[in-house]
């Protein structure tokens, strides 16, 4: 994707994280997306999340498919390896990458075309395998690079810029994730950084597949009246299911001093996610209730946001595969090759 190198000018007063890095160190090239694109806000939130987590940039692997959303890994953490793959194929490539090195932090950036149409199958199976990664869908209901066709997440009745109405039902990544057994499901809005940053941080700490659907209006093709994924429409219909706060393990004690009405969920790395329950009965660990609540909100036309579902008990791909703790890519050849004596003995069976 085209990109413009951004000059790094670090002001001495910029705050530094535990690694002594400023937020500038987590930025990438200049975005070439349209001015006002929701995706750029998500990029900014991702940048902040990594900085706040003090993740060493070289331990991050950024992967994407094809589309406007998939361009964005160039725009954050330039010190991380990036892989801009093929349309809809990022989940498989991320799966292979995660199989080879379980020590890295994987972030996949996709869009609604990339994940819900051409790559729907791969997304489903990455969820089933419970790949340990943060999977962001920058969801705008429209194909931007090819000039405004409806995507599979376009709502019924939503109108294209030419005035044509969509009549097919949408695929909702949140419900999809729930039905497939995703272990971390959240939804947010690109314009709501206060909600999005803690969600991303919690997702990065999750030991499994963290699906984060971010409604991200397309300013060029889908931000007009009649579009249900416009800035106006999203702000008007957005409902926070949970207020998410993310507390890294070092600050766990503080997290426990929480006000009434908050559910704390401890992640496997020891960090804690706190949910402020907007509705008193909302429990993000109860799949049946989550589904029921989602249904009720969808019926009333509201976009439910927050960390909607969390399951910290399921095994991830490596646990399911009984993989060694050492990344596959780091196992010495001497350990891998059984040697000539074994081969000689083995061949006695082929006599």
């Amino acid at each position: 994707m085209p990109s413009i190198t951004k000059p790094i000018a670090t002001h001495p007063s910029l705050k530094r994280n535990e690694l002594g890095l400023t937020i500038r160190d987590y930025e990438g090239s200049m975005s070439t997306l349209c001015a006002g694109c929701g995706h750029d806000s998500i990029t900014a939130a991702i940048t902040r999340a990594f900085w706040e987590l003090s993740t060493p940039p070289h331990m991050i692997a950024k992967l994407s498919g094809i589309g406007c959303s998939s361009k964005t890994p160039t725009y954050f953490v330039s010190g991380a390896h990036g892989f801009n793959s093929a349309h809809g194929r990022m989940p498989a490539i991320a799966t292979g990458a995660a199989a080879a090195n379980r020590d890295l932090l994987y972030i996949g950036i996709s869009g609604d075309g990339d994940s819900l149409s051409i790559g729907l199958g791969q997304l489903c199976h990455a969820i089933r395998r419970n790949i340990r990664m943060l999977y962001v869908i920058e969801n705008n209901g429209v194909y931007g690079l090819t000039k405004g066709q409806f995507s599979a997440s376009a709502d019924i009745g939503t109108k294209s810029k030419r005035g044509e109405a969509n009549r097919m039902g949408p695929i909702d990544p949140v419900r999809l994730g729930l039905s497939l057994g995703a272990t971390f499901i959240a939804r947010s809005f690109s314009g709501d950084k206060e909600q999005l940053v803690p969600i991303l941080k919690a997702a990065l700490a999750h030991r499994g597949f963290a699906l984060v659907d971010v409604i991200s209006p397309c300013v060029t093709f889908n931000d007009h009246e009649g579009s249900t994924k416009s800035y106006l429409s999203t702000r008007k219909h957005m409902v926070h299911a949970t207020e998410t706060d993310f507390v890294p393990p070092a600050q766990e004690i503080l997290a426990n001093i929480s006000p009434n009405g908050t559910t704390s969920v401890t992640l496997h790395d020891g960090s804690v996610v706190r949910f402020t329950r907007t509705p008193a009965h909302y429990d993000p660990t109860d799949r049946a209730k989550v589904t029921e609540y989602l249904d009720s909100k969808t019926a009333s036309g509201e976009v439910l946001t927050g960390l909607l579902y969390l399951d910290e008990s399921s095994a991830d791909m490596h646990e399911l595969s009984n993989s060694t703790e050492v990344p596959m890519a780091h196992i010495p050849y001497e350990t891998l090759c059984p040697g000539s004596a074994v081969l000689d003995k083995l061949q006695e069976e082929y006599r």
Partner: protein
Amino acid sequence: MHDVLRVNTRTHSDVNDFALKLANVNGTGSASANGLLMQAIFRMGIPVTGKNLFPSNIQGLPTWYEIRVNKEGYGARALDYDLMVAMNSQTYARDVSEVRSGGYLLYDSSWPLDPELHRDDVTFLGVPLARMCNENFANPRERILMKNIAYAGSLCAALDIDMTVVGGLLEEKFGRKKALLDSNHKALKLGYDYARDNFDCPLPFHLAKMDANGDKILIDGNTATALGCLYAGATVAAWYPITPATSVMDAFKGFCEEYRRDPDTGKNNFIILQAEDELAAIGMVLGASWNGARAFTSTAGPGISLMNELLGLAYYAEIPAVIIDVQRVGPSTGMPTRTQQGDLLLCAYASHGDTRHILLFPSNPGECFEFAVKSFDLAERFQTPVMMLSDLDIGMNDWVIPRIKWDDSFRPDRGRVLSAEDLENAAKYFRYSPLDENYVAARTLPGVDAKGSYFTRGSGHNKLGGYTETPSEYQEVMDRLKLKHQASAKFVPAPILETREGARFGVLSIGGCDPAVREALDILAAQGVPADYLRVRGFPFDAAVEEFLASHEFTFVIEQNRDAQLKSLLTLETSVPKEKLRSVLVYGGFPLSARHVVEEILGQI
């Protein structure tokens, strides 16, 4: 197939030179009886080949197994059957017709034989297999299974197969399952005794112990391929089940469970991912290779069709990948359980745009092992996909091959990869620059050092790896990739040349055609038609291929596909004039036989 010109492709002798065909119904347990016979002959030290001609079906359709015994060591498929074991009423008429004049047919005489199917020039050996098994075994399932062992017993008597060898094999197989072992012994003896008491045993053609097999092994190509991947140090395997490649991954899994489990932790030093389809399987391989693991997939033609998209990405972004293609009959679903060499052009130029790949062509299980190891080295040395094109005949049939050797000093060639220290000492890192003499730049792995970070992309990029839409920058990279591919010609397995005194023309072939071609060349030479032989083993073609074509007035290109794909590849990639190439094409799905080659060549010269 070629009945008009009947050329006798074998020198006739009574001992250790005959072909046997067993006609069965699939799913009835015949495979283990047939395998038992084949293995027993192998253990008697006699050169033997087995070809399983099986249907794409679980139970109920016709299936054949051919065993060729040849003391000279010719291992191609024979087309003249001295003895037919006709166990399938569905194909009985056809099976009777395939016996050579003067040959024998063994059938189940529990029921009367249709007199219309009788042949005066064939000796019919009736063994009441069903009746004997019904009388001796109570369990209905056992009655069916033991019929196979009973006919194996009759064949032991008819062909002088060493009963102690067969008994030993049964012990090895069923040793701990006493009841099963007893049943097998009983059935074997029933068949043996009946044949000995009722026929003139042994038949005129029969076996006699030899010492031709030394320490050779009996192995199929897919197992050998899996062993190669194990020894190459592959840790990530991704695949989608497909005939005839499935047994590559089955075998790899078996070997890994045996040799790749950490004795202290019980954890796996491997990960095998059964993907949702071949699109994902190749994606997983790319992700893992990009991240520094040795990764591979095994598939067949339909899988390669799906993988085309990401093969182009791997080629253009320069990501190592190993793809094992066990070819079967296409197009489309084609005939999944039949063999062909129909993926040559598909693989050579897989994916849209200008792409070209490194291909290796093993001709037997020994080369499957060797080339599988080589594939990983080449993929990492040249940072590109490498496809090893085996086929169903090599992959799924048992071949007698010299014992596989392993050199413990072998260390994998991981190609140019920068370490943390390399990066520390480097001023700046660019993914595609500077280049070595083979036009390859050093890559870096994620997780090593932020200084080595770069963006892998399938979109247009310049010589440093940055995005571009500028024609000259794009072309510069594409031209280099072509040079890189050409440079790999010196590294793929060199072709094998066999010359003959007074050769009038050349014969060029590939892969599993080899045994039939070599036998045919001996027959032709004996008839006063000597020819030189070159077997290509890799693509891009070595300079020796060009020289061979140039130094012969004309060359027969022998291959198993309709469209002369190897011939096309030669005309595209060498300067040979089209008129100098003639084709021998056999592509019906059964392995090549020497007779096909001899008849075609004699017919065309």
